[in-house]
């Protein structure tokens, strides 16, 4: 008991209380603000998820998920996005230790994996539209294209953002501003992966169950 108190006091002396420490740093404020934005984005996705779940069986006599979804393709897409989330984490580490070569390499791999995901998804969409299963076919397909397409648009925006950030690193170097933006980017990219986890579970795996 005495030891625990002593340790506690030692830490207390080393670190001022929150009121003495003053306002939070800009990195914390910016990161928190972006965190709240991401949560609101996920709330928007939840509305699309709810619409999809309600309309999943409203195929209007058209093709259903069992006929349309290809599981190997979805598995590859999932692998691409998961791996790109990992390399995005490696990029954050490289930025923290100011290793430019590793940063560019990790960013390049992240970009390529994200682009591969997007290419597979666009190919899947084109294939579905080619067999007459476009978004205007049934309520199920409208909800499907809205939900999956919205996630795809987010990934496309993330790719543009990543390219812009690498240009900023090349021109400005890694200063506090660029570092904050990169923090927000990695939050965005990891959050997209969380949305995809629910997407492949609810849409692709549950869609082919029965």
């Amino acid at each position: 008991m005495n030891i625990a108190v002593a340790v506690d006091e030692g830490r207390h002396e080393a670190r001022p209380s929150a009121s003495e420490a003053g306002p939070a740093t800009k990195r914390i404020v910016v990161g928190y603000g972006f965190w709240v934005f991401l949560l609101s984005d996920i709330v928007m996705f939840s509305a699309f998820f709810a619409a999809y779940a309600v309309l999943a069986h409203a195929t209007a006599g058209g093709p259903s998920g069992v006929q349309l979804f290809s599981q190997p393709s979805v598995a590859i897409e999932t692998g691409c996005l998961l791996a790109s989330s990992y390399t995005c984490g490696l990029m954050s580490l490289a930025i923290g230790s100011r290793r430019f070569g590793v940063t560019y390499l990790a960013a390049l791999v992240t970009f390529l994996l994200g682009a591969a995901f997007l290419a597979l998804e666009v190919r899947e969409f084109m294939g579905m539209i080619a067999v007459g299963a476009g978004p205007q076919r049934s309520a199920f397909l409208s909800a499907f294209f809205t939900l999956v397409g919205c996630h795809g648009l987010h990934v496309a925006a993330g790719l543009v953002w990543l390219a812009v950030m690498m240009a900023q690193v090349a021109i400005k170097g890694i200063n506090a501003t660029v570092e904050r933006r990169l923090l927000c980017f990695s939050l965005f990219w990891h959050a997209l992966d969380i949305v995809w986890v629910w997407l492949f579970t609810v849409v692709y795996l549950m869609g082919v169950l029965s």
């Binding site: 009121s19 990195r27 599981q71 969380i194 795996l205």
Partner: protein, 131 residues
């Protein structure tokens, strides 16, 4: 005596000096996260395709696996922890999860209830479900 600590930006590793971690341990965290996520994803695909499991429980199993993988992503990739410097981030996340659950579960319950209350003959009911 205070129980307030420094805040931490979401996505940052711990800002507490006594939990300072080097690059190698950061790499380890991401790699463990990747390995766990791969295992859970593989399990999801296996559960959806196997005929060994009772079909009625598969949806529930997939949901549980997705929740687990979301937790893995939050802890290992986004560094959301239960530490005192992370309280604000966790509270915002909890509020987000509350709204998401309300929207999704609420929509499903209300629509299922409406479908149940449609006093239509079976064949018309079927027609309604297909529109």
């Amino acid at each position: 005596m205070t129980d307030m600590q420094y805040d931490r930006a979401p996505g940052d590793a711990s800002a507490l000096p006594d939990v300072e971690q080097g690059t190698s341990s950061g790499l380890l965290v991401y790699t463990i996260g990747l390995a766990l996520a791969v295992v859970l994803t593989a399990m999801s695909f296996w559960v959806a395709n196997t005929s060994l499991l009772w079909i009625g429980g598969v949806s529930l199993g997939l949901t549980v696996l997705a929740i687990a993988q979301m937790g893995i992503h939050l802890v290992f990739f986004l560094h959301v922890t239960t530490g005192p410097d992370n309280t604000n981030n966790v509270m915002a996340l909890a509020f987000g999860v509350l709204i998401v659950v309300l929207v999704v579960v609420g929509s499903l319950l209300i629509m299922a209830d409406l479908n149940d209350n449609m006093m239509l003959p079976a064949e018309l009911m079927n027609l309604h479900m297909q529109r």
